[in-house]
Amino acid sequence: MNRFALHLAALAITLASTGPLRAEDDLPIRNCTFCHGVSGQGFMVAPRIAGQRPQYIENQLKSFMAHVRDNPYARKYMHNASANLTPDLITGFSQYFAAQAPRPADDGDKALVATGRDIFENGIPSQNVVACVVCHGPNAEGVRHIPRLGGLSYIYVKRQLDQWNEGYRQAAHPMPKVAKFLSPQEIDALASYLSYVE
């Protein structure tokens, strides 16, 4: 059987399968967990996706596919990883990982937690820093397409805020405008606080 026939067979199987995709049978979650950790809790540069808002996961996958989310690791890993996703796979992955219980990364600087929490809840009006809580919720749990931030790793949150200031992910309104008023120390404090939020 040549390559073309193999592809055709794969396509036929894909088209013939009906109903929601489930992890046990036809949802290849190992393609995700290979980098994002066995239960989606994140690993190294790959963020935790367990417990993330399904609408957010879905939007990000589409955004990787369209090369709109353009930060370096997205370009390096996720543009390729998302290239062949079907609408059913996008929905399947989003629902599956959203349903996994998230665990906090706990990797921030404990000494900065109080400052980070203050910025998260109150912003810094004198510096035009808005309060994160208005969109991300009192426990940083997110809602609809707005991501859960509570418990994401220090390293990931810090990198996103830094990269908005470096000119990446500019389509993610209003985050580029939020990040630009934060000092490096304030970014450290926010990322530290969030890493401990259950």
């Binding site: 912003g123 035009n128 808005v130 208005v134 969109c135 809602v143 209003p174």
Partner: protein, 214 residues
């Protein structure tokens, strides 16, 4: 000569004081407010209230500010400052809005002309239109249009409702007496009994109607 010199001194002192007075009225002694500082403060508002002031639905709903009546904005900012309107976020935000900034900011927001945010439920809009235009005499609900205008664009201290977010209108009418008119009466008192007399279904209907208006 000495008398003249003294008089001149007094006059120039008075002139300087008068100038200081103007400066304080404008922005706490820092001189009149520049276009740039108005725009940078407005940019701060619009991070949360939507890039064109059309409102934004986060965990909480940030109301539409575009095209709002300046007098209403001004009154609300003062109400936040004085604790008459309870909102932990805005009470914090107004600490960074100087007295002289309030009016120029309100005028700036008045000039924004964004289409309605939309996205809310639309069922009940016909009932909402009826309540808005003719009220519910049996429930002691006056027609909203009498004060808010037939096009719901408000006037002076009475807010524009046209294009206001469905979720904001329902929350505001549901919580009216708990959020506004605290620590003594203010002009918001007129709405408290109206809001109290509306049923949840009627509130939803009015919200569905006004949120669709341009």
């Amino acid at each position: 000569m000495r008398a003249n010199g003294f008089k001149l001194g007094v006059q120039s002192a008075a002139f300087t004081l008068a100038l200081c007075g103007v400066g304080q009225a404008a922005d706490a002694g820092k001189g009149p407010i520049s276009r740039q500082s108005i725009e940078s403060k407005a940019e701060y508002c619009l991070i949360c209230h939507g890039a064109s002031g059309q409102g934004f639905r986060g965990y909480f709903t940030m109301p539409r500010l575009a095209g709002q009546q300046p007098q209403y904005i001004e009154n609300q900012l003062h109400a936040f400052k004085e604790g008459r309107r309870v909102n932990p976020i805005m009470q914090n935000v107004v600490t960074a809005v100087s007295p002289g900034m309030i009016r120029p900011l309100a005028d700036y927001l008045r000039g924004l002309n964004a289409p309605p945010h939309g996205g809310g439920p639309t069922e009940g809009a016909a009932l909402g239109k009826r309540i808005f235009e003719t009220g519910l005499p049996d429930a002691n609900i006056p027609a909203c249009a009498v004060c808010h205008g037939p096009d719901a664009r408000g006037t002076r201290q009475i807010p524009r409702l046209a294009g206001q977010l469905y979720w904001y209108v329902t929350k505001t009418l549901t919580n009216f007496g708990r959020e506004r008119g605290q620590r003594g009466e203010d002009s918001s008192g007129i709405m408290a009994p109206v809001a109290r007399n509306l049923s949840p279904a009627q509130i939803s209907a009015v919200a569905a109607y006004v949120s669709s208006l341009k």
